[in-house]
Symmetry: C2
Subunit: 150 residues, 2 copies
DNA sequence: AAAAGAAAAATGTATATACATCTTTTATGA
DNA sequence: TCATAAAAGATGTATATACATTTTTCTTTT
């Protein structure tokens, strides 16, 4: 068995906020993806489409801000949605701007997926209990705020 | 502005556990990646190398379990570590099994990265406060457990 | 000992993610 | 007006992620 090079106590990597977040996110994403699979949509895609349904047409950069996604990542993430014809991309008067909106197919898929989302979401909320659930959302908001404050 | 197709209240996607987790994880990962950049290593890579340093040689499948990573993902994630010669992959007596261990370079990089990790981790813990910090870790453990219980 | 089954990892394919840089278009300023 | 700067996206490149399937090796069963 190997030892530390110094006599200082090694920090506990097991408490790393980043790796704990990433591990939990992998597991939760798999659960949501599995629940949404009958609708042929993934969790990350559903969050974009549901936002477009709620807010209507959005600038691409606004969509990126709202989801907290790097702009270049959003450019890539829109491609599968386009390929499935769930969204439409139009130009603004300002020719630099792209306006994203749901197609009829997109509305249909969100409608299909929404009850599936409700089911898995309710399962998590019930299992956690509403107090740990809201503690989680609070902690995530706080943690994200710290990260973005840098 | 578009309305719901039915008169049922629309569920609030803003409270989706999955999308909130994913958003926070993106932001936090960017902060940890930025902090570790001077050592030439990413957060997800650091968590693997730090685990190997702590535990010594591990079976590939054990490593996957410990990080909570799909086995096929780990196969891919090991490639950059191999390319940088931070790890070595040996065969067990059982020729199906791969044994992963740190090289001298790997130890060196972990040593370089550890104080950087400590810095960013301390920043998050301080900013959150220890109570919200432990609430976060508890909630993440609970949530991950729910996800894996399916 | 040969066939069938199980375990471990790799491969094919698709999506998600971000940094550095580039292109296009609009706004500004001398 | 023309040059320069700024805004909005797209592209090149690299990593991260998982499902379905395949390959290799070992174990079990007959």
């Amino acid at each position: 068995m190997s030892h530390n090079d110094s006599s200082l106590p090694e920090p506990d990597i097991g408490l790393c906020i980043c790796s704990n977040l990433r591990r939990a996110t992998r597991a939760v994403t798999q659960a949501y993806d599995a629940a949404l699979r009958p609708a042929g949509i993934r969790a990350s895609q559903f969050s974009m489409l549901a936002l477009l349904k709620k807010r209507g047409e959005l600038r691409q950069s606004t969509l990126a801000d709202l989801i907290g996604l790097d702009g270049t990542t959003l450019t890539r993430n829109l491609q599968p949605l386009l390929k499935n014809e769930w969204i439409r991309i139009d130009r603004d008067e300002d020719q630099r701007v792209r306006l994203i909106s749901l197609t009829a197919e997109g509305h249909r898929v969100v409608g299909l997926a929404t009850p599936l989302w409700q089911g898995v979401q309710a399962h998590f909320v019930d299992s956690l209990g509403s107090e740990q659930w809201s503690a989680l959302l609070d902690a995530l908001n706080g943690t994200g705020a710290v990260a973005r404050a840098d």
